[in-house]
């Protein structure tokens, strides 16, 4: 009979194994990071009439109906066309009667053209699908992001996200603000 003792298992690498496990779980557990389009709702005002007069040429009207058809200004458009149209509308360098009014402002000794009154008016039906609504919101945001990037490249030679806070505020709040106005939804009654 073999009475030799079995040698003890070398457990010095056990620590490494559990370290690897530990690090693996540290990396893998994404705490369900959420992404989203962040928006600020307008405060509720019941009594005060704050309707402001805005000239028609300063408003870019986007309508989405209950069949998810998109109308920009006066034509029906595909979702893919929206970004270009919004960019063209907001761009401070476009000129013409149908584009918003521009005003030159002196910033740091330079005259910079701005269109501070331009706004997108987004209106949807109660029957519009949420998917289309998010697509439209996304395209509007994308257009403004692209314009901000172009402007900061032109003025500062950097992308918008790489700018310091003050210049970012100038471009983000003054030059190209996220001016999306959402109208109270219309309910189109079927007759």
């Amino acid at each position: 009979m073999n009475l030799k003792k079995t040698p003890g298992i070398n457990s010095s690498s056990m620590a490494d194994v559990s370290f690897i496990l530990f690090i693996f779980f540290l990396m893998v557990t994404t705490m369900g990071t959420d992404y989203g389009l962040i928006r600020q709702l307008p405060p509720m005002v019941d009594d005060i009439d704050i309707t402001q007069e805005i000239k028609e040429r300063n408003v870019f009207v986007v309508n989405v109906n209950l069949y998810d058809l998109i109308q920009a200004e006066s034509k029906v458009v595909e979702i893919g066309q929206l970004r270009g149209l919004v960019k063209e509308f907001f761009n401070v360098n476009t000129v013409g009667e149908e584009f918003p009014q521009k005003k030159d402002t002196i910033v740091g000794g330079k005259a910079i053209r701005m269109n501070r009154t331009a706004v997108v008016s987004l209106q949807n039906d109660r029957g519009t699908s949420y998917r289309t609504y998010i697509q439209v919101q996304n395209e509007l945001a994308a257009a403004i992001h692209e314009l901000r990037d172009e402007a900061s490249l032109q003025l500062y030679g950097k992308k918008y996200d790489d700018l310091d806070e003050d210049t970012q505020e100038f471009i983000g709040k003054k030059l190209y603000p996220m001016a999306i106005s959402e109208a109270e939804p219309k309910e189109i009654k079927k007759k």
Binding site: Q40, L41, P43, P185
Partner: protein, 157 residues
Amino acid sequence: MAKFKKDVDKETPAIATTSLPDIIFMLIFFFMVTTSMRQATVMVEQKLPIASEVKKLENKSLISFIYIGSPQKSYQAKMGTSTRLQLSDRFATVEDIQAFIAAERESRSEADQAKMTTALKIDENVKMGQVTDVKQALRRVGALKISYTTLKGEKVF
């Protein structure tokens, strides 16, 4: 004087590492137990839309979630198939939002209350009418900072 002769050759004994894995395992268990996911079980369908211009939601503890969608299969017998609202872990109506937001505010410190965000997790097939009702309710209670939770992707349409 052989008695006091130093053992010069003797090596320092190796540090016993046999308990190291136990320590690490304890660490793992500690983190496993303490990371509470703090999320309610979602009882409605959640097929989120895709968007590209998204921002990461910071500070999860300051976010209150509102879920909208049609009830999942196992709840359909009780709740039907039409679109429902879910607040924390029960089905609710738009009228309950006011109390829900008030309770969420109550549980945060005063300094944090201003930074609170409401994340709307809405199924992409929901009609905007319901979304608008919720938004109006949020405006009424003054919870103005919202986020439309979406998936992150480049291919939006």
